[in-house]
Amino acid sequence: MSDRTNPMPEADLHAYVDQRLDAARRAEVEAWLAAHPAEAERIAAYRKQNDMLQAMFDPVMDEPLPLQMHPQARRRSFAPLLRYAAMAGWMVLSGVIGWTLHGADAGKPAPMLAMARQAAVAHVVYTPEVLHPVEVGADQEAHLVKWLSKRLGAAVKPPHLRDVGYELVGGRLLPGNQGPTAQFMYQDTRGQRLTLYLSNKAADKGETAFRYAQEGKIGVFYWIDNGMGYALSGEMEKPALLRVANAVYQGLNP
């Protein structure tokens, strides 16, 4: 493979393929390849392997998560059936929504799903907090509303969920992918917590139906209403969470 008078270590050639060489060494490898056309062809083929692998499998990252992705949510005996049914359902659902939402842009990643993920992460980060679950408590609700509305650049207001058993704890400002986002936290009498995540920069404008995703043990309902993205996260069964999601929606659209 390499010529005897002027060998190039195979490891360096692979490091070149994987773009792990510093500029100086890269230049040396390139000069060597220029003088060894057969080797250059081989290395170009390896680079193309990487490119094709990424082109072929990167889109998997943007596929909606199967409902049963979390193992502890599954029941051993009929879990596979449930899981496949859920996956099939997702494929149909996301196909339909993807088509209506994106139209010609159907191939692009779903920013709403990214928002749902962020909401789920924010949920698991802040709901276990005992001392500082929120930045501004419900006792200063007027201040909370004014502050978050100003930072998000849109009127935001926590809906009241007493009818479904949840009291507002307060809220906080969070960094999102496209700027500031907000999180309102609620709690029931047993201490079970829910969070409502709001993003003013939800990329899909317009109205959408509720969508559901599961991140770990956390269920997330997410939707867009009047240009604002909402994600309601909770560690509870889907029907119970849906009931709250409906109450949130009605609270926002009295």
């Binding site: 994987d18 692998l53 499998f57 998997v60 979390h70 193992p71 992460v121 980060v125 991140e215 956390i218």
Partner: protein, 164 residues
């Protein structure tokens, strides 16, 4: 902590899809990996790379699955490589050929090529994930890429030695 794991699910799914070549098998593999990860989270050392940790769990699950279903594996010898792969012109066909070629690579090569080329792990990181020495990563990478190239080109397979 839950979020730490959840954050890596899309990447695990990408790797699993490439590794198994099958959507259902891949998501099953992810599912089993997550189950292990949740149960073993206390063993993960805080501050160490959780992504590498999760990929190594997936590697172990995958290898165990293969041991349990020997039929699904491709032996390290070259008997399975006799069917020539069609040489093609367009990208679409090349993609399909790539998928077919990946599926026919011995698992040891496939894992290294995917961890490095698709997941863009460093060589040391790949060694850590697979629990093998760095030198073995490099030799598998070298042989695997050449094998893949041969499969893609539809060339007759060069005589290769058994991988240690």
């Amino acid at each position: 902590m839950d979020g730490l794991i959840a954050e890596h699910v899309p990447r695990l799914r990408r790797y699993a899809r490439a590794l198994t070549g099958d959507r259902t098998r891949a998501d099953d593999l992810v599912q089993d990996t997550l189950e292990r990860a949740w149960n073993k989270l206390h063993q993960w050392r805080r501050g160490s790379d959780i992504r590498a940790w999760m990929f190594s769990i997936m590697h172990n699950v995958f290898v165990n699955q293969i041991r349990q279903h020997q039929a699904a594996t491709v032996a390290l010898d070259d008997e399975a490589l006799e069917v020539p792969v069609r040489a093609t012109q367009t990208d679409g066909l090349e993609m399909r050929d790539l998928a077919a070629a990946i599926a026919r690579l011995p698992v040891e090569y496939r894992e290294v090529i995917l961890l490095v080329g698709l997941e863009q792990l460093g060589y040391e990181e790949a060694a850590q994930v697979l629990g093998i020495p760095l030198g073995t990563v490099m030799s598998r990478l070298s042989r695997g890429r050449e094998r893949l190239r041969a499969l893609m080109a539809g060339a007759t397979t060069p005589a290769l030695r058994r991988v240690k």
